[in-house]
């Protein structure tokens, strides 16, 4: 039931297409050169295309079925030349089109690259709380599938719609010039189509919106299930998972069938219109041609009739008029899908859950590492806060340990310190500056955190250590690895420090991953170091070595250490004890131990408690 949770509110309603188009243009504008070239070529090919029926008319009227003024002549001299001209026109049109398609795609691909990077950059800026509530699968879809829909739009040349429209207008002009009555009569059916299309439009759009929403749901579901599949199997959840999947899949299919329905109707309608028009041309134009039979073009014109050649040319122009119209109806659906996708993308770009940067970041000198929490209260969502009115102070160079039951809020403290989340009340200062006054990057450079959840990037070990620190040369990185006794693990790996790292480090043991993450932070020796259960999966011998190494590297620097294994916090200067988001004790080892009476009572209590537990 729950895997198909209501989507979070990044599903903006599709606003006016015009707004979206304008926003898309922002990305296209830097590459508009290509678009204009393509547009120019389009006009060029259109002219060449338009000339062809006219040339055909010439050929027919003069040579093949000569009207009186050309009759009798019988010579075919000009005919060959006419064919050559026609061939040249057509060839030009063809080449022009190929180049036009390419330049347009070039512009489009460049714009999409920019857009993709912009979306990615925006995702990077979004705060962690955004990711707490948004499934990653959905976001992956934004960057891939949705942008692909836009790509489809460029590829199938929806941008040429503009050209098509110009083309259609020109044809209309020619048609009116050739015979306005015939044109008017031929077009009587058009308004019906326009009205119907307008009506269907709304449906198509709705259908696409539903479809894209369902697709996102599918993305999110697939993403999570493929990550958790071994568990699904181990817990024999296949049937339920399959059922949930089938439901989502059926939903998606349903939504897609909706789009197909409207697409089909729309396309058949335009097609019908072109045939109806043909009937009209024949009916009315045939009459005119009957009248003009045997007349020269001029005579026919004067008599309000047409020649056969004119009629044929007329028909061909009409075909060229309906061609793009037909395609327009096809492209319309592609465009609708693209617009819906674009709306989603812009909806994401409009997400404002970004960690706010100060307008004028404070620029403290080199960090000393004094940290103060002043009455900090914080909660992840509404409801009870997980940190209550917490205050403490860490002097520069001090080593402080945070202990407390799991879920007490220790990791949260570090997230607040580096502004992954912002406090609800109170403030946190680093060297006297509120952390919110410092530039976010600056702040995070000053504080090196080894987080509880290790994350390695695919690549290799050395690269993971150097990542993001171009100033660290390979030699420095190797030296750092050696200082941290990393060779104890890398020596066992065939690739050593160059051992490849798979997605999330899945080809390494948990302890190995932790050690690499550790080295990554220690390699730059940050002014303030914070370790969050950094060695919980590491064997004691290694941990012991690490402790000494850290003590060496962090000599005189501030360190905050969270650990459950008490051996890890042996040498700290001070211990802060937390319980359910509050600070309950603080002091050196011995200070805390001195509060004997209190302990003794608690000890008795706990003893009784565990006996109870044993009986149960």
């Amino acid at each position: 039931m729950s895997a198909r949770e209501v989507p979070p509110k990044d599903e903006h309603r599709v606003a006016f297409d015009a707004t979206i188009a304008r926003r898309l243009w922002v990305y296209l504008a830097p590459h508009q050169r290509w678009v204009w070239i393509s547009f120019g070529l389009l006009l060029f090919t259109s002219v060449l295309g338009l000339a062809q029926p006219f040339l055909m008319k010439l050929a027919l009227d003069r040579y093949v079925a000569p009207t009186p003024e050309y009759a009798g002549d019988g010579s075919l001299d000009g005919f060959g030349w006419l064919l050559v001209v026609m061939f040249a026109c057509a060839l030009g049109e063809l080449l022009g089109r190929a180049i036009q398609t390419y330049t347009l795609t070039l512009g489009g691909q460049n714009a999409l690259l920019d857009l993709r990077l912009a979306v990615f950059r925006h995702l990077q800026r979004l705060s962690s709380s955004f990711f707490d509530r948004t499934p990653i699968g959905r976001l992956i879809g934004r960057v891939t599938t949705d942008i692909e829909s836009l790509n489809e739009m460029f590829a199938s040349g929806v941008v040429t719609i503009l050209g098509d429209l110009v083309n259609m207008l020109a044809i209309l002009g020619i048609l009116f010039w050739m015979d306005w009555r015939l044109t008017l009569i031929s077009l009587v059916a058009a308004p019906v189509l326009v009205l119907t299309t307008l009506w269907i439009r709304g449906r198509v759009r709705l259908a696409y919106q539903t479809m894209v929403t369902k697709r996102s749901a599918m993305n999110a579901y697939l993403h999570e299930q493929s990550a958790g599949m071994p568990l699904v199997q181990a817990f024999r959840r296949e049937d339920r998972t399959r059922a949930a999947f089938d439901a989502i899949n059926a939903d998606l299919c349903e939504a897609q069938l909706g789009t197909v329905w409207w697409e089909s109707v729309l396309s058949a309608l335009t097609d019908m219109l072109s045939s109806v028009t043909m009937a009209l041309i024949l009916w009315y134009g045939g009459g005119l041609a009957l009248k003009g039979l045997g007349m020269s073009e001029l005579q026919a014109d004067l008599a309000g009739a047409v020649t056969l050649g004119t009629l044929v040319a007329f028909l061909q122009y009409m075909d060229r008029f309906f061609g793009p119209l037909n395609e327009l109806s096809l492209k319309y659906t592609v465009m609708q899908s693209a617009m819906t996708a674009a709306a989603r993308i812009f909806g994401l770009l409009d997400q404002t859950a970004v960690t706010p940067e100060p307008d004028q970041p404070a620029t403290p000198g080199p960090a000393a590492g004094a940290i103060r929490f002043e009455g900090v209260t914080f909660g992840y969502g509404e409801g009870t806060p997980v940190i209550h009115d917490l205050s403490f102070e860490v002097a520069p160079g001090e080593r402080v340990a945070f202990v407390g039951a799991t879920g007490a809020g220790k990791s949260t403290l570090l997230k607040l310190l580096t502004r992954l989340y912002d406090v609800d009340a109170g403030r946190i200062t680093l060297d006297g500056f509120d952390v919110r006054e410092l530039g976010v990057k600056d702040l995070r450079t000053r504080i090196g955190i080894v987080p509880q959840d290790v994350f390695l990037f695919s690549g290799n070990i050395l690269e993971n250590i150097r990542l993001g620190h171009p100033e660290i040369t390979e030699d420095v990185a190797r030296a750092a690895a050696r200082d941290l006794h990393l060779e104890r693990i890398t020596d066992r790996l065939p690739g050593g420090l160059m051992e490849p790292v798979r997605e999330r480090g899945s080809n390494l043991s948990s302890g190995e991953r932790q050690l690499i993450a550790f080295a990554r932070v220690l390699a730059v020796a940050p002014p303030v170091l914070a370790l969050d259960e950094a060695t919980s999966n590491v064997d004691s011998e290694m941990e012991h070595l690490l402790q000494e190494a850290v003590a060496r590297v962090m000599q005189g620097r501030t360190s905050l250490i969270i650990a459950h294994r008490l051996s890890t916090i042996r040498d700290v200067d001070r211990i802060v004890v937390m319980h359910k988001g509050r600070l309950v004790e603080e002091g050196t080892h011995d200070e805390l131990m001195a509060k004997r009476g209190f302990f003794w009572r608690l000890h008795q209590l706990q003893y009784a408690g565990s006996e109870d537990g044993g009986d149960a």
């Binding site: 060839l91 296949e238 058949a268």
Partner: protein, 630 residues
Amino acid sequence: MFDTLRPLWPLILRYRWHYVIGSLCIIASQALKLQIPRFFWGTLGELKQAGDLPAAEARELILWASIWILASALLIAPIRTASRILILGSSRRLSADLLADVFERMLALAPSFYTRNPTGQVMSRAINDREYVRSLGGAVFMYMAETGVLYAITVPLMLLIDWQLALMALAPYPIFLVLARRIALRIQTLSRAAQNALGEISEKVDESLSGQMVIKTLNLEDADLERFRLRSEHYRALNLSVTKWRALLISLMMGLALLSTLLVLGVGGSRVVSGDLDFGEFGVLLTYLAWLAVPTRTLGFVISSLRRGTSAFERLREILDHDLELFHTETGTEHEVRGGSLRVQNLSVTFPALVDEPRLAGSEVQDHVGSERDVPRRVLDDVSFEVPAGTTTAIVGHTGSGKSVLARVLARQLEVDPGAVFIDDQDLTEVPLDVLRAQIGYVPQDAFLFSEPLHDNVALGNPDATEAEVLAALEGAQFAEDLDQLPEGLRTLVGERGVNLSGGQRQRTALARVLLLSPRLLILDDTLSAVDTRTSEAILEHLRPFAAERTTILIAHRLSSVAHADQILVLEEGRVVERGNHEELLALDGRYASTWRLQERSAHDAERAARLEAELADLPAPGADPEATS
């Protein structure tokens, strides 16, 4: 190409009636549509011939022809709509079925498939590649049918009208088709590379978003963007090459149509002049050619889409045809797990060279130095031991010594050859997976939670568990206390991978869901590493009676939590170097003893601090009712 697509057949056959009727509709509508120029041109021809036809008669002729055209148009519209709905609709259903097949395979693929292959790659196939495959059963099929029908009808008609002229018009086709084929092959290769690149993008986004906290805290944004940019640019370049070849192909086909028309116009035109050919027939011929021009152009599109669809399907087949990697030898005998004794015999595990691993194809972007490791790696070496039913065996050893690999083998998460692991004296690979999984409770080192309510995560293996049972399991994992801290208690959504819980809470949830199942065989891989000493003591305390009735494999770094085990194995570089119970191992004075001493060294401190921590954790929150503790 058609070999590659063969597995698609059964799916297509499922909708054969849709396709058959849809095709019939296409034939009908095309046949009707072809009548229209005949009416039109036939009338015009007659008009030209019979200049002396009585005006009234001629008018009637025109009127009837127009009515016929109109009637056909009205008839065509619903037929055409039906054909599209049938065919395009089936393609959607087909693609849904295909996804269902892929998912079915995913459900069956061995766990190691998922450790080896990035989620992004799997997703990209299921989502993006499927779209291209779908177009094979939809747009491509339709265009092919339309084109085919058009050719099938027009070509004979053209031949009937004037076979010489018609042949001349068709003469350029073979040459062009040969050229088209070569281009199409190129498109297929390039499309595949482009799809691989897209998969790589989706993999990268996945990685960057999953690691967003780390990226933020370590200021890795720029470096990460660079990696993303590299992939995106690579993809863009490939897309452009595909476009280039596609444009070329389409131009080629347009050129073909053009050549035909001009031939007919030139040669036929002269013959009309010389009186060998009727003007009306000439007109029909020209119109037919013009009608063929459109599908000939779309032929370019069809060919390239066919190729792209094929390459996409190849990528999907990487999953569909992927080796399941979980052997199951049918022995015919009934298997069941009763006691749950384990025997491991000369077990060795070797990971193949990374270059040889059967992985889903990615792109060739290599932005990291160093090459793929090309030697296999042995991580477990000739391990043998026995665990009598109902006893506890602990596995300890240095980081990377192979403890987790061993646990995964025992839990059948990692496949080994038959003859190495036995449960109740039956070869592990002979016991049906279902039977086995029902009796194994494995808590992996990294707790994975689904973005579902806490309740559902605990009830993962037994969705019918009552709330009381779930609560009892949580109680056993010492989670109950945390419940009131969660905004909605059991109904709290834990977020993707459990991001809304603390590390220790996640581990305890993973533990609780195994406790709920009460399996015969319990495998706990460093399950309490993120849990504080007091809580972990309480959990172990609770586990003791539970474990006493079960066969238990316990992996830990904290030796104090394994000291009571019936048997302790010390692993070193994949080999069992010491074994025995706590006292025996201490007496042996080897690795175990030295680690024990190391941990003991801080024992004085540790004990003090542990007591301190334990007791402080029991403190009431300031402001809470002090009576509760006194």
